[in-house]
Point group: C2
Chain length 355, copies 2
Amino acid sequence: MLSHTSLVRGLSSVVKKPVIAIAGSTGAVGQELLDLIKERNFPFANLKLLASKRSAGKTQHFMGKDYTVEELTVDSFKDVDIAFFSAGGGQSKKFAPAAAKDGAVVIDNSSAYRMDPDVPLVVPEVNPDAAFNRPKGIIANPNCSTIIMNMVVFPLHQKVGVERVVVSTYQAASGAGAAAMGELEQQAKDWVAGKSPVTQDIFGRQYVFNLFSHNSNIDLDTGYNEEELKMVHETKKIFNDPNIRITATCIRVPVLRAHCESINVTLKKGMTHDEVRELLSSAPGVTVQDDRVNNKMPEPLDASFKDNCLVGRIRQDLSQSDNKGIEMFVAGDQIRKGAALNAIQIAELLLERGL
Amino acid sequence: MLSHTSLVRGLSSVVKKPVIAIAGSTGAVGQELLDLIKERNFPFANLKLLASKRSAGKTQHFMGKDYTVEELTVDSFKDVDIAFFSAGGGQSKKFAPAAAKDGAVVIDNSSAYRMDPDVPLVVPEVNPDAAFNRPKGIIANPNCSTIIMNMVVFPLHQKVGVERVVVSTYQAASGAGAAAMGELEQQAKDWVAGKSPVTQDIFGRQYVFNLFSHNSNIDLDTGYNEEELKMVHETKKIFNDPNIRITATCIRVPVLRAHCESINVTLKKGMTHDEVRELLSSAPGVTVQDDRVNNKMPEPLDASFKDNCLVGRIRQDLSQSDNKGIEMFVAGDQIRKGAALNAIQIAELLLERGL
């Protein structure tokens, strides 16, 4: 086990393969973490799969080996170097400090620590250095909609400065978990079978052929829902710029696993749409899909199971002058770049530079 | 038949029931026009159902009577007082002038005449008077997305002035016609049956569990598609304000018949969200559905088959100061208020005030 001290110092002397734990290995993001570890040949000396008492004892088959899922407890992390948490905010709050105390670097997918000033909030393409200043031994993975937006807004912010963002989302079922995706599929089956009302155990409404305002709680003072406030506040933290003005409207659409966002940006200094397209063409993790002639623009199905976020509809905002307004439309896999991939990339960063 | 001269003068002496023609009676909007004529007890002395040669000879049953669909020709309007056109822009261009020449007031659902300076573009809740200044005898019905946006933006514009609108749409299949709705339903059936690829004769892509940038042509210079440009230019004409700044992103989502829009407004003079909510509560054709506690906001299924547009998510834009930013989310039935209902309301206006 690597000592906590050496982890915090970011020593690059760590050449041995890390011991990895995944808390919440049986969930949608946990499964995707496993897929990505395999796909990217992420090195590990040992793998511990952790879950709630309910799932403990189950067997998960991974890369030719059977793993018995262990119950997540404060004692789960004695020999762990990197602990991915994707078991919900409650579990993160309860067990992440124990993991960090035992010397693991925690990469937490929940929202529990994101706004903690002592916890860095990291998108590797945006603020990689922040991962190496983690007083609590915890790194937070941002909200999925935040990450996907940041992938295309940050390059502009870095280049000329972004004054204001108005974003409207088109979010998939996956953000609400595997069961939510299942319910959307079940509703399609029910609808085709003529069953009315369709199954609605999770969202309490028909979702297929419908859409609705994001299911997170609405802050009664501002009227914004939690998802929207995450996009606003997390972006300010990730960009390390409290002055960037952001407003968001988050909507769930009947799509399975990739989010889209209609993003209107006001720049501090004008850029032509060609300059924006060129900039985003070379932005890490971004693929420009902006075929005006054939009207082939980013779609959730095209972005699904892809690492890169797709961006298109890049155009000068007709309502702004001096090329200061830019419109764009982005699609990104919510489970990959929106969650598991970003977490793995943080871990890769740790290995590259030394934990 | 009423003389064209008397129509243009707007004489209120017309008390007899009008003879109505519907060009395109077998289409989605044509059917809805018939439903609304019945539902609203719209008076008529006689009804002529017109369609292309292909549909001519068919029988349409309406209010206990069988009507034989006649072929739409230049001679179809000799005795007609009000001619609804919903047979596409080409047919409107070809036959609307003939109808007007024969003394009918044309209410045209296509985009053919909308930007013609001699043709008024009318949303009865916004600019009813414009209907009575029609040098060509033609009144244009605006684009569906334009109408739905105007229903909630105009009250603000009238009250304090709207400086700028940033809108992103969530548009249903219905805007592309009855066959498009059928294809979306068929795709759900194909998907459930495990058929891959799903039927894609109309949109050329999977639409169920997916979304895509609006299927209208993209203007290669600006990058905006035709639907977006309609929202921009038609609103300026309807509001009679060339200076209102508007940008739009139009997206098709897998929903059957109601459009939603995420609307960000910059006001000339600040209003609190409570003031906006109160104003919209008394706006004609608008129902406020803005339950923050239960997170019950406008949904396309709730707006479907309804006359009123639903508006919610009314809140102060966090990215703006002095209460000058307002966010809202609207849902409106694309076939009703977005097309047929607006046309019928124009006709009702003509009857009320005299053709």
